[in-house]
Structures are given as structure tokens and as C-alpha cells.
Symmetry: C2
Subunit: 537 residues, 2 copies
């Protein structure tokens, strides 16, 4: 027996239409390349997104065609976020931090037909244009300069629309967007988000118990729109009608802090490196920026040290951890304190806030160790596996999916985690980042977080180095704070009361900067390579 | 091109499983018939719901079979809310306030196979048992007394489960529940909620911008679980892991106020009559009940007068209007103030809070007058029409659907409304409650709300009475406040500065009580009947 409810597909079209009707006057602010601020509103965004959809259709877009974007975070990219999928196309956000050869590979693998590109990113486009031929290259004239020959202006392109366009009725399982993982090994792999998965993810991110994005919020997606849809924040903000402030290409701490103050920002999202820089700037200039009380910042990509959560609390901001991956759209877990934890001591609460949180509704998590499914005891480590309606079930056109799915259909994240009795997931390491010493596991991430809690340490990365007796032993790579002269002995003494003796790194190396991936994560592969010939004293 | 995401159906099973895993220790409190409080937790609720599913299956439940409940709001009803649909059955909540003949008609029309009934409701069951034969009658022994011959004890029924039950994989379009509308005219009509519609509605109700139900909430569904799934609150509370407090059969103001105080309630939902009674009790006993600051009460079913919203504000509670129907699962619109209204004067803000709110995401609203689709100008009245993924597309087994759907697929609510430029829907009347005087429309609901703002008026209902010259004219039926001697002249003078002269009722009748429907709404049909022979002086 079936329900008698309407057959109403979950696509992005109703979100766009509703935003235009209900939130027309709500502002959308973009930081331009010249640092000026561009202001528009939802009414214009709605009209222009439909114009883009119409112009793309007139230009020959067929259902399911991939349209690439090579853009910073700004209002024009938001138009592409809706205009492309609403027309039946597939929004393919290219990661401008990748090597040009990788960008070309990805555009080729996805068979992207058109490209929408910021004029300030044309020099990057030049580096791979010979390797993938787009049928049309549509340039957003952010600087106001004429676009080069062989390309067309985005504004002219939009002018071709009549304004009397009605979006097609789409199937909710149709593709809306795609994104390639920027792993540190292997070829990038494509995830294709359906309309349905994107809509459900949007609902999930606007729940009171997850990110609680609401109409009264002013939201800054600092996380790039070419990283897992800026964690879905553009879709979520538009669904609820929040004011959106885009940082454009200016991701240094000071211009973002200026935006936070001047635009009265209440919510943001980004990786720990961004927040670390902003924390440093605020600590150097006490009282310089007046921000909204209770400003909340979602942090993902990698775990922030507890010391950072504490430091932000002291400034009246609230850091909220979340975990996800390109393959999970990305919202997997969010760390808010459950009601039963409200009576814990402050230190105990921080121990929970240092975890990645509990699974969002309809995201199911489990941990698998060599002995099978692990108990939710907060201790047993194993690979985190997930499933749910916005979790990838396969990669795009990849015959050898690298054993990323279990036989019973769960996605293997490659992250090592524990889950405690309250359901909080805590990532310890990537499977390849665990250190196995004398048959026991050591978490490099835990060590790094502890080390970064030392006032003399700015950054710490811990890697496994082969050892004749213990198989592997930890080596800590340290970047000192400016003016600090912290020594290996200081750090050993600092760690001793905190952890088991065998966890303490056998060696400390002091360097100037830790290499990073394009998403700001520590590039441990490079460190492992650098220290692969390590000789123990 | 399709997405590469998992095919993960939206059913109630993951909500139940997650609640058991993540929120096991969270409390569920029920007021028993003898007024004592029964306490259990999510772990037990999860286990017992699965036991119910297993026992039903063992008893012969087949996919799609209807299982009726005749129950108050309590933990056992919550088990039925999940145990029945998780087993593949259809939860059919019978409205115990209907006439026994209507209950029998409804159970027969739905072909309910089994009945789960509170022992305290057996006398009601006796009144219709001869008219619909259930295969099995399972009695919840709330009083602890043995169940009668020919029935079986719910507790014994649950004991038949082994505890090793795995719920079946269901299709998200399968029926999960059904509910018959309790209209004042015509035969009751059945709406069949799919799992998908129920899940999406659950997400919608937990958004930060709608009811914002969250894990830290303590929720009291005062609205009966046999009225449109208690507005979905049981599903929403379980999805987020809120503490749930059920009032059982005790719906008088004082026992509910005791619960609000003793259980530290933060959120509730019910019809205006309930809140009106509680307001009266609090005003008579100032300071008697200490409740949580910011306690929010969702009010639906009919619109509360602005004076009630103000009075509750003064007590530190927040009344939030919502609008919906059995046919909309029921969440349609919710009235929170948008960011752009924050700068309005207090009085202007109340004018918005007196409206029914803006459409929830994915609920689309429009107003149709005789001239076609009305502008969103806050003035043009017409029939409110809606569509969305949790809006009924038809009634269950009803060949003549009474023209409830438009040719282009929208549901015709029968409510008359305006929509303003900010998207706020304001109901004026049911189509049949409008008064047409000399070709102009008069809103009886507006008149009633104004009249109920007068301190001497407890209740006011306005109906149309035939008039030789004007076609129809308004007659106001008034229930005075205790001790008040307000007169027709007083009320005329009170209304004069507020409305157009032709809106002022030509006659005022003072009576002891206004007849009500089983859902607490004014039964205007009966008033119309009472005054049908009215002679104008």
C-alpha cells in the first residue's frame, strides 16, 4: 500500500524559486579582486540564475551536460550553483589549487563542455587550456576589463536570456553537481551529487541540532566553493534566506576579520588553518575587530587542537567541529554537546568538543577493526564506515573503485576513529597515518593536537618512521612560534604527564613550515618522503 | 546522467535505530490515568518498538496492513508510532473524540485489522465494537487491571517477541500512517502518509527556522496523537533525541502547567483553547508555576488572538503560530520574524506574529481568487492552495474527491488567505465562513480576533446571517469573561476605530459557551443552525 502524497521531486529548483519570492531584499555581498565590496540581493540572484539557466539552454546545454566553473567564492559562482543544475546541467567545480595538469585531467574525465571562469583566473586557465578543449569559455569580468578573444563575457551571455524561462521538471536522481576528491595519492575521483542528495543535505545542515543555519544569520563560506560545494553552505544559506558574504580571493586573516566586523557576520565555515590565522591576528591586535557575540564557526577538513577551541571561546566565538568528505556531500557528523553532557566539568566538555560529533540524522556510522565491528566504547579504533542518502555509492566512471565500499554497501572512509557510548565519533588518523609501535597503535593526530597546545609550538606533524625493534616509532616535526626557542626536551616533559610513555616521539625535528595539500591539510606524504632515510641514534 | 549517491530510502526505521543508539538514556515521561508519572527512556522505547514490530509480524501483519490505535498521548502510543510502520504496517490513529459511529465508519473504510487500545478507553470501544470487527484487540493495561476476555494484554503481546528481529527494508513510498480528516461536513476522508513524506516533514519541523526542535529540548505534545500525528512532533522529537513528556488524558490547564514546571519543559504544541485555559490559570495564580525562560508553544488549528500572544510574551513564553492541515502532514507555514522585520515597532511586529507565517521549505503556497492567482500584496483574498512533498495528492479510496485538487495539481485548502510581500500567509476564513455583505467580503476571523481582544470578552464567534438588503450581515456571538457585563454598545464602540463601518456586526448575542468541534475549533455550523431563523429588527 502506497501513500497518497504528492509526487514532488527533491530538486534545487524550488529552493531557488522560494528564495526569490520570500527573500528578495536579502543581501549578497562579495569581496572583489580589488578588495572593494560588491552588493546585490536575492531578487537579482534569482533572476540572474534563471537567466544563466536560459542562456545555457539556448547555447545547447542538454540534460546531464557538465559545465565547469573555475571561480572564487562570490555572487557569480552562486548563480552558477543554481543556474546550471536548474537548467538540467551538472555543476562541476574545478579546484583552482590543483596542478594545471590535474585540472585538465579532471575536466577531461568529466567531459566538461563549457567553462565559466573568473577573469582573474585566466592565467591559470592558460596553463591547461591546450589539454582540455571547452566548447565555450565564458569569462566573468570581475575586474571590468574586456574579456580576451575566443572567450565571451558572462554578462553578455546572460543578456541573451529573454527572462521568460521556465525551468524543466527534473528527476530528483538526476545529477546536479560533481566534485573530484583531491587526495594525496592516486588519480582524482569524481563524486556526482544528485539533486535529491543535495536537497536532503541542505535540510540536514539547517537543522537546529547541526549547523542551525537560519534566516537571521549572516553567513561567510570561507571554505572554497570548489571544495565539496563549500560544505553545502551556499545551498543551505539560500534555502533559509540568510545574508551571504563571500570573501572572493582574499583569504588572509585581516580582510576576513574586516568582513566579520563590518557585515555583522554570525556564522562561518572553514578549515583550521584559516581560523588559526585569524586567532593569531586577533591576539596580536586585541579589541581591533568588534564581532557579533556568539559568532559560530564550523571547522572541518582536519581537527583543530583543543587549545584553539578554548582560545576562541575566550574571544566569544564558538568553534563547532564537523566531519565529512567529498564523498559525504560532506556533512557526516557535527559536534554539539548533548543535553546529558551539560553537567560535566568544563574540561570534560572540551574533551567532547574536541571530537568530531555525532552522526547527522540519516548518516549512519560504524567503526570496523580487524576483529569486526567495534563497540561504541570510545576506545576501540578502526576504520570509520558510513552510509546514508547523501553518501556516494560509487565514483564516476571508475572501474577499479579501490575497494572503497564494503560488501554490505558502506563507504570506507579511510579514516581511523573511535565512537563513544554517546555516539561521538573521534577521528584518530587516516589509516595510513597511524603509527604501529610494538603491536600497539599510536595516534599521530592526538600527538599533534597535544603538541600544538604548547605555547611555543605553532604547528606540529607527527609521522611514523621505520624502527628496527618497534617496527615503527613516531617522529615529531615542529614549527616554533615566532620568538619561541622550545626544545625537544621541553616538549618531552610537556607530554609526559599527558600520555602513555611509549607514545612520546623519539625524535623532534624543527623546521620552518609544514607542507600542505591544496585544501590546507598537512601533506604528510611529503614529510614521510623527506624523512624516509631516518637513522635512529 | 544520474548521481552516484547511495540509494538510501527515507523510512522511519533509521530514525528509530539512531534514537536507540544515540539517545538511550534520554527520558520519556507519561502522565497516567491516575495522574502519576510513568518514566522510561529511549533505550527501552527503541527495544519495545522493535518488539511490537516483531510481535505484529508474528501475529500475521502483512506489508500495508492497517493497525488502528485508540489511545491518549503516552509512551505506549509512541511505541505504536514506530513499531507499526517499521514492521511495514500502517499506523491508523483513531480520533477518540468522534462519535462512535464515525469511528466505526473510519475503521471500516480503512479496513483496520488490529486495534491497540488504552484500557481506559475500552468503554468507548464498546460503543462501536459491533460495527467494526478487529481481528485482534490488544489492550494497554494503563491501570494495571487485567484485560477483558476476548482481548489480549499489550504487555503479553510484546513478550511474544524474541528480541532478535531485523526490520524489513521498505520502499519510501510505502504507507507509514493514515489519518482521517474530522471535518464538520461530509464523510471523513483518509490521508495516507508515506514514509518519505513523514521523514521529510520530520526534517522540515526540526529546522532552525521552523520549530527548531533540538536534542536539548523537553517537548510536550499537547495536541493529540490522533490529530495529524500530533503535528509530527513525536517523529521530530525522536529524530533529534529530545526529552518527551506526554500529558496522557489530563488536558486541563493545571496538570499541564505542573508538567511544564516539574519536567522543565522548553517546547510544546497545541490549539489556542489549550493555551487560553493555561493563560487563565496563570493569570489567576500569579507566580504559582515556575517555567523555563523562553518556553515556546506552537499554536495551530486556529489562529490565536494577538492579545493572547502579547499576554504570553509578558509571562516569558513565546507563542509561535503555524498553519497546516491533516492533508499537509501538517506543517505548512510557520511564523517566525524575518530579519528585515527586526526593526519594526513592537505593534508592527505583533501584526506579523498574528499571521500564520511563511511557507516551510518545499511547501509552495498561492492564493487564488475569482480573478486568478492573487498578488502577494497582503490584501487580495482568495483560496489558499498548496503543494509539496508532504501534501496529499488524493484521498484514500475516494472516487469523488470533492474538487480538492486543481487541474494543475495543487491542493485546495478551503481556507481563505492573503499573502503579503514578505511571504507571510494570513488566513482570514474558511471559504464558507466569509461574510458577503453588499458585494464586499467581511472576515469573520478578523472580527473574532478583535472582539476577543476586549477584556470583557472570553470568546467570540461571528457568523453570516441572511439579510434582505445586504445579502448577508455579521452576527457576533459572545461569551463574556467571568464578572464582565460588557454590552453590545460597548463592543460597537470598541470596534468603531478599528475597522470599516460596514464590518461592524449588526447584532450581538450573549451566550454561555460556544459549541466546538472535537479538535476544539468553533463549530460554526451549529451556530448558523441556531440562528438561521434570525429576524432583523
Amino acid at each position: 500500500m502506497r501513500g497518497t502524497m504528492m509526487d514532488f521531486p527533491l530538486t534545487l529548483t524550488p529552493i531557488l524559486v522560494r528564495a526569490g519570492k520570500l527573500f528578495g531584499a536579502r543581501e549578497i555581498v562579495s569581496r572583489m579582486p580589488d578588495k572593494s565590496l560588491h552588493r546585490t540581493d536575492y531578487a537579482s540572484f534569482h533572476r540572474r540564475s534563471l537567466a544563466l539557466a536560459e542562456a545555457l539552454t539556448a547555447a545547447g546545454l542538454k540534460r546531464g551536460d557538465r559545465i565547469a566553473t573555475l571561480m572564487w567564492n562570490h555572487a557569480w559562482h552562486l548563480e552558477a550553483y543554481f543556474g546550471i543544475p536548474v537548467a538540467g546541467g551538472v555543476l562541476h567545480t574545478l579546484n583552482l589549487r590543483l596542478h594545471p595538469d590535474d585540472i585538465a585531467y579532471i575536466a577531461g574525465h568529466a567531459e566538461d563542455r563549457f567553462l565559466i571562469v573568473d577573469d582573474v583566473l585566466l592565467p591559470l586557465y592558460e596553463q591547461f587550456r591546450a589539454k582540455h578543449r571547452f566548447e565555450r569559455v565564458i569569462v566573468v569580468p570581475l575586474t571590468g576589463k574586456p574579456v580576451p578573444a575566443g572567450t565571451e563575457s558572462y554578462e553578455d551571455f546572460l543578456k541573451s536570456a529573454t527572462g521568460s524561462y521556465t525551468p524543466p521538471v527534473l528527476d530528483e536522481n538526476d545529477a546536479a553537481g560533481m566534485c573530484y576528491t583531491s587526495g594525496t595519492t592516486g588519480k582524482p575521483k569524481g563524486v556526482v551529487y544528485s539533486h535529491r542528495a543535495t536537497v536532503l543535505h541542505t535540510f540536514a545542515a539547517a537543522l537546529a541540532d547541526t549547523l542551525a543555519v537560519c534566516q537571521r544569520d549572516t553567513v561567510v563560506p570561507v571554505v572554497p566553493m570548489f571544495h565539496a560545494n563549500a560544505w553545502g553552505l551556499p545551498f543551505t544559506a539560500v534555502m533559509v534566506g540568510a545574508k551571504i558574504v563571500f570573501p572572493g580571493p582574499h583569504l588572509a586573516p585581516e580582510p576576513i576579520l574586516d568582513l566579520f566586523q563590518d557585515e555583522k557576520v554570525t556564522m562561518s565555515a572553514g578549515v583550521p588553518t584559516i581560523w588559526m590565522g585569524m586567532l593569531g591576528a586577533m591576539q596580536k591586535n586585541p579589541g581591533k575587530w568588534k564581532t557579533q557575540p556568539g559568532l559560530r564557526m564550523v571547522v572541518g577538513g582536519s581537527a583543530p587542537p583543543v587549545s584553539m577551541i578554548r582560545d576562541f571561546d575566550a574571544l566569544g566565538w564558538r568553534l563547532i567541529q564537523a566531519w565529512g568528505m567529498t564523498e559525504t556531500a560532506p556533512l557526516g557528523t557535527v559536534c554539539n554537546l548533548k543535553a546529558n553532557l551539560a553537567d560535566l566539568s568544563i574540561d570534560e566538555q572540551y574533551a567532547y568538543r574536541a571530537k568530531q560529533g555525532i552522526p547527522a540524522p540519516f548518516v549512519e556510522c560504524r567503526v570496523f577493526s580487524e576483529e569486526g565491528e567495534a563497540a561504541w566504547d570510545g576506545k576501540t579504533m578502526g576504520e570509520l564506515q558510513v552510509r546514508g542518502p547523501w553518501v556516494a555509492g560509487s565514483y564516476y566512471r571508475l572501474d577499479d573503485p579501490d575497494q572503497k565500499w564494503t560488501d554490505d554497501g558502506w563507504f570506507r572512509t579511510g579514516d581511523v576513529a573511535t565512537i563513544d557510548g554517546d555516539g561521538y565519533v573521534k577521528l584518530t588518523d587516516r589509516t595510513k597515518d597511524l603509527i604501529k609501535s610494538g603491536g600497539e597503535w599510536i595516534s599521530s593526530v592526538d600527538l599533534e593536537n597535544m603538541l600544538m597546545g604548547h605555547p611555543g609550538v605553532r604547528e606540529a606533524a607527527v609521522i611514523a618512521v621505520p624502527h628496527p625493534k618497534w617496527d615503527e616509532r613516531p617522529l615529531a616535526v615542529i614549527v616554533r612560534e615566532e620568538g619561541s626557542s622550545v626544545s625537544a626536551d621541553d616538549l618531552r616533559k610537556y607530554l609526559e604527564p599527558k600520555i602513555a610513555k611509549f607514545w612520546i616521539p623519539d625524535a623532534f625535528e624543527f623546521i620552518d613550515a609544514i607542507p600542505r595539500t591544496s585544501t590546507g591539510k598537512f601533506l604528510k606524504a611529503e614529510l614521510r618522503d623527506r624523512y624516509k632515510g631516518w637513522k635512529w641514534a
